[in-house]
């Protein structure tokens, strides 16, 4: 049995209560959502917070996937499993469904939350790339009010987000558009393992051309999105050659490192391959939407 350092435990019963506890206990307190990132780190003593503020009781208040004002709104405490099973996401933003099929295993998916995943910002974490490709915005709430950030502003790199002390994420907002399609592709060494590399793509078609595109990569370092690749796609009709060109741009712009999951050369190669595959599937889905 792996044993964490001693800590104090508090249980938040509402978002307001959680924010108040955060303010009272200060920077040595950590929110505990599904616990599937935080608890393993505590057991390995890589994290030793003095206080845990359990926000599991907020699973009702912050657990939802619903359509509102031309967006899908996802509560921060929504579990991986609920994302996987959401019929709305499968129909309109299938990149979530693709990704959730290959995130961890059922045990982890039953507890882990989208808010926890985005705030953990593990370099190989999938939902940050998914949200970035889907042009999602993140609602960050503090005692003084709310900020709504796009993923470029929210995600600041490995283990780093725009969430300040005393703040928490409450909601993720994913825009819906006609003629849109998205997809996610991942290579892992074993089912349930973190990505060696993963790529997400979203495209919006209009009159046979790509009106807007977004590409995001996981586990290849640096910035998850590839604006240059997205730019190359915009305004041009979809084709294998175009996808290959964009995939090449995305791969060239990433900065993978060699580790146990694979060599930097392989990761760069496969980033291109997966981007290409994601673009193909995203476009096929958009074409179905369009017709």
């Amino acid at each position: 049995m792996q044993v964490p350092s001693p800590f104090e435990y508090e249980r938040a019963t509402s978002v307001e209560h959680a924010l108040e506890l955060l303010a009272r206990l200060g920077p040595d307190a950590r929110l505990l959502a599904g616990g599937h990132s935080l608890l393993p780190m505590m057991k390995l003593r890589l994290a030793s917070p003095e206080y845990l503020i359990d926000i599991d009781p907020l699973a009702g208040e912050l657990g939802y996937v619903r359509e509102q004002d031309g967006e899908v709104r996802i509560g921060a405490m929504t579990r991986h499993r609920e994302l996987l099973e959401s019929e709305l996401l499968a129909r309109r933003v299938a990149i979530f469904t693709d990704a959730e099929r290959v995130i961890a295993d059922p045990v982890v998916r039953n507890r882990g939350t989208i808010g926890g995943a985005l705030c953990q910002a593990d370099p190989a974490e999938d939902l940050s790339a998914v949200c970035a490709a889907a042009d999602a915005r993140v609602v960050v709430r503090g005692r003084d009010g709310e900020r709504v950030l796009d993923m470029r502003a929210f995600h600041r790199g490995a283990y780093e987000t725009a969430v300040e002390d005393g703040e928490m994420v409450t909601e993720i907002r994913v825009p819906l558009h006609p003629g849109a399609g998205s997809a996610y592709e991942k290579v892992e060494r074993r089912v349930g393992d973190w990505a060696v590399v993963a790529a997400g793509a979203a495209v919006r078609l209009s009159d046979g051309t790509i009106e807007h595109a977004a590409i995001a990569l996981a586990a290849v370092g640096g910035d998850v999105t590839s604006p240059a690749a997205a730019e190359a796609l915009a305004g041009r009709p979809p084709s294998e050659e175009l996808f290959a060109e964009a995939a090449g741009i995305a791969a060239a712009g990433c900065s993978p490192v060699t580790d146990q999951r694979g060599s930097a050369e392989y990761k760069r190669h496969v980033a291109a391959e997966l981007t290409l595959r994601a673009l193909r599937r995203a476009t096929a889905r958009a074409l179905r939407e369009e017709s």
């Binding site: 044993v3 001693p6 290579v187 060494r189 973190w194 060696v196 392989y266 595959r277």
Partner: protein
């Protein structure tokens, strides 16, 4: 056979495992379930670095922790002569480091506290000052002149060399290589992997100061051998030691040796007078307990242009880590590696093995390896496949052409083993037929034309298990024989005591079935007792697939002794001479008058009753025996694997796996299939993902199950298993071992398939694990051994 008999065979057959009733109800008792009044908890402080001199250790802050009772360091043990302990391979190992630490994760201090949380917290309060030294983690570099000397504790040691050992005939091998038409050579690494049993290692030590008796619950595959070793090492009298190995959650060789943690728990209990529990966590298990493999091999195979294999030559650098703790028969420093001639009839063979120290955890013989046969089979099966490629021959055909033929058994191989029995061609042809081999090859041609990468791997193995004959095999002077003791109660129910210890193999079922087969007592009427040295006969334990070959034989022999006693008693009951009685399962009857007879249950009652017993029986039917095997048994099997490799991502998927095993007489097919399924899954793990890696400084990169991957149900196909039966001629019931066959046979078969899939890229060989990245590098002509 009626449906009812089918379900509950009296004797051999598909009997559901007796032990599962408690496991599926969560009623098993593992070491960590043992709770004793007043019990304290231990935790081990481990070295954060791979190689360093210990400048100082300050335990005062830990001792000041309100819940800490004691902190034991190497210096404290030194006072009692216990800071070092002998290993099973004529070396010594530090219990707690005194001078240096030699691998990351090495034991440095032992804290005893009220609970395991406090014990763990107090570890952070111990201040150790390390003077870091350069580390060597690559076996190829361990003997470089500038390599740091790891074992300067050994008198006069100036390098990292442990042993040189060879087998076979070098001159004869050179001669066949000189006249061969074709020679293929390849360097290959069987990487360091870990058994990773679900239950980690642990112990509860309870020393009674009044009686002087030590009771030790521990995760051991060999309780009797451990008892004797504690007596020899710690100086406790052997009759005052009771080792209990309760339910064990997987062993795979990981639980053969004695770990420092067990010794610390014992010392802790003696020091405090309280029971001490120590159970390691997952990272400790992966980083510090017995690993497996780590063999750097250079193999060469010589053949005629017609594909007749003439000889095999191998040079090995064996990485034994920081202490030579490998658990194997004393005379075999490379285990049974010299069965590397495999299943082939060849003219000459030779191997040399050089053991080296590195700054890595000690161990070596573990993970269902049959004493290094895993490495040997991997080598020869890769070499034969490479030869097939060189000759442009079909790998299955090439094997069929070179197999030892049935009429050659018993077959003396070129390195001295005498294979007991085999019919390799029959088994191979069965596997090819099940797989639809020719059809698969046609499909492969079509797919290749479409740019798809499909690979077909063929593998064949011969195992040598059931160690072993006393005159050849001992472990630290203890002969590798096993006892069995059978008591038959007056009502005809029985209790069998055995020396071997199940870790999931189903001994309680299989061994009851052996008695049932011999005596006709239903298996549910037979209680198998094991894992407690106070209640069972002496023997060396369960590893190396030795339980059925050795202890299973002892069980059959002791049951036959009971049967013969019963015959004498039956003679008295029926008033006929014992010679006039004939046996049918469960009953002696009068020859020529089958109505006249007595069942084993009636005989048992009579043997305890008022009947006047004839000379030759003392009353009761109880018997005991010790079985000293005349030879090993040699199970074998033909495996076939189909993989698909994604040309874009280089990800490997195992599409099909056919395993035809021959373990001689089959006692319980359900258990056999389970052993094979588990071993094949192990094989997929090693072939595709498992690796205990290190960085250059000697940091272990495989210290959690997030880094050290083991396969799940989703990585494995539906196993297609079948069998042939070639009984062992020298085993009382003709059974051979099955526990490690699939672990031995499957990795080369899978790698053969991956390499076959990559043939269009000109790949001849790649080392395991075949992760997507490593496969892609092989496709780029850049295959490298893993770090």
């Amino acid at each position: 056979m009626s449906a009812v008999e089918e379900q509950r065979p009296i004797g051999y057959g598909r009997l559901k495992r007796k032990e599962d009733a408690r496991f599926i109800r969560g009623q098993g008792t593992y070491v960590d379930d043992v709770q004793l009044p007043g019990m304290l908890h231990g935790a081990i402080l481990r070295s954060p670095v791979a190689h360093a001199r210990i400048a100082s250790i300050d335990t005062s802050a830990a001792l000041a922790h309100p819940k800490v009772h004691a902190v034991i360091t190497g210096r404290d043990l030194e006072a009692q002569g216990l800071s070092w302990m002998p290993t099973l391979s004529a070396d010594v190992q530090a219990v707690l480091a005194t001078d240096k630490v030699r691998f990351q994760g090495q034991e440095v201090a032992f804290v005893i506290a009220d609970d395991r949380y406090s014990a763990r917290d107090a570890l952070e309060l111990i201040d150790v000052d390390y003077d870091t030294l350069p580390a060597v983690v690559n076996a190829r570099k361990a003997l470089d002149p500038d390599a740091p000397v790891i074992r300067d504790d050994l008198e006069g040691k100036t390098d990292n060399h442990i042993f040189d050992w060879e087998s076979g005939d070098r001159a004869a091998t050179d001669a066949v290589f000189a006249r061969a038409d074709v020679v293929v050579s390849q360097e290959m690494l069987y990487p360091r992997v870990h058994p990773a049993p679900m239950e980690t290692c642990g112990a509860v030590a309870d020393y009674d100061r009044v009686s002087g008796k030590l009771t030790l619950w521990s995760t051991t595959q060999a309780p009797h051998a451990h008892r004797t070793l504690y007596a020899l090492v710690a100086g406790l009298p052997e009759h005052k030691i009771r080792v209990i190995s309760p339910d064990i959650g997987g062993g795979f060789g990981n639980k053969v040796g004695i770990y420092p943690g067990y010794v610390c728990a014992v010392v802790g209990s003696i020091v405090t007078g309280k029971p001490i529990k120590w159970v390691e966590d997952r990272s400790e298990n992966l980083m510090a307990t017995s690993f497996a493999r780590d063999y750097v091999m250079r193999g060469s195979i010589a053949a005629t242009s017609e594909g007749r294999i003439l000889g095999v030559q191998v040079d090995v650098i064996a990485d034994h880590g920081a202490f030579n703790t490998t658990a194997q028969p004393t005379r075999y420093p490379a285990g049974f590696f010299h069965v590397f001639t495999g299943s082939y009839d060849l003219e000459a063979a030779h191997c040399s093995v050089r053991g080296v120290y590195t700054n890595k955890a000690p161990g070596g013989v573990a993970y269902a390896c049959s004493f290094r046969i895993t490495e040997a089979v991997y080598l020869v099966e890769r070499m034969v496949d490479m030869l097939a490629r060189e000759l442009d021959a079909d790998p299955a055909e090439l094997r069929l052409r070179n197999f030892i033929r049935p009429e050659q058994f018993p077959y003396a191989c070129r390195t001295g083993w005498v294979y007991d029995s085999g019919d390799y061609e029959r088994t191979m042809r069965k596997a090819l037929a099940i797989a639809g081999y020719d059809e698969l090859r046609r499909e492969q041609v079509e797919r290749r034309a479409r740019g798809e990468l499909m690979g077909i791997g063929v593998g064949f193995f011969t195992e040598a298990v059931g160690a072993g004959p006393r005159r050849h095999m001992d472990i630290l002077g203890l002969g590798m024989a096993d006892g069995a003791e059978l008591r038959v109660h007056p009502t005809g129910k029985a209790q069998l005591g055995i020396s071997v210890q199940t870790q999931g193999q189903g001994h309680e079922t299989t061994f009851a079935q052996i008695v049932a087969e011999e005596l006709g007592i239903p298996p549910e009427d037979i209680e198998v007792v094991h894992g407690d040295t106070d209640n069972t006969p002496f023997g060396l334990g369960t590893y190396g697939s030795r339980s059925t070959p050795v202890s299973g034989a002892a069980t059959a022999v002791v049951a036959r002794k009971v049967r013969e006693k019963a015959r004498i008693v039956a003679g008295a009951m029926l008033e006929v001479a014992p010679e006039d009685l004939a046996w049918e399962r469960g009953r002696w009857f009068v020859r020529g008058d089958p109505e006249q007879g007595a069942t084993i249950q009636e005989i048992a009652m009579a043997a305890h009753g008022s009947l006047e017993l004839p000379e030759g029986v003392e009353g009761g039917l109880d018997s005991e025996t010790v079985y000293n095997p005349p030879n090993l048994t040699f199970p074998f099997g033909a495996y076939l694997c189909v993989v698909d490799v994604d040309p874009g991502t280089a990800a490997v998927r195992v599409r099909r796996f056919v395993a035809v095993d021959d373990c001689g007489t089959r006692i319980n097919p359900i258990i056999i299939e389970g052993q094979v399924h588990g071993g094949l899954t192990d094989g997929v793990g090693m072939a595709l993902m498992e690796l205990i890696a290190f960085d250059e400084d000697g940091n272990c990169l495989g210290g959690s199950l997030m880094d050290y991957l083991i396969p799940t149900a989703l990585e494995v196909p539906d196993w297609e298993t079948d069998f042939t039966v070639t009984p062992s001629p020298h085993h009382p019931i003709g059974a051979k071992g099955i526990g490690e066959s699939a672990t031995v046979g499957s990795p080369p078969t899978i790698v053969n398939a991956v390499v076959d899939a990559l043939a269009p890229y000109g790949v001849r060989h790649m080392d395991m694990p075949c992760t997507p990245s490593r496969v892609w590098e092989a496709m780029q002509g850049n295959a490298k051994p893993p770090q």
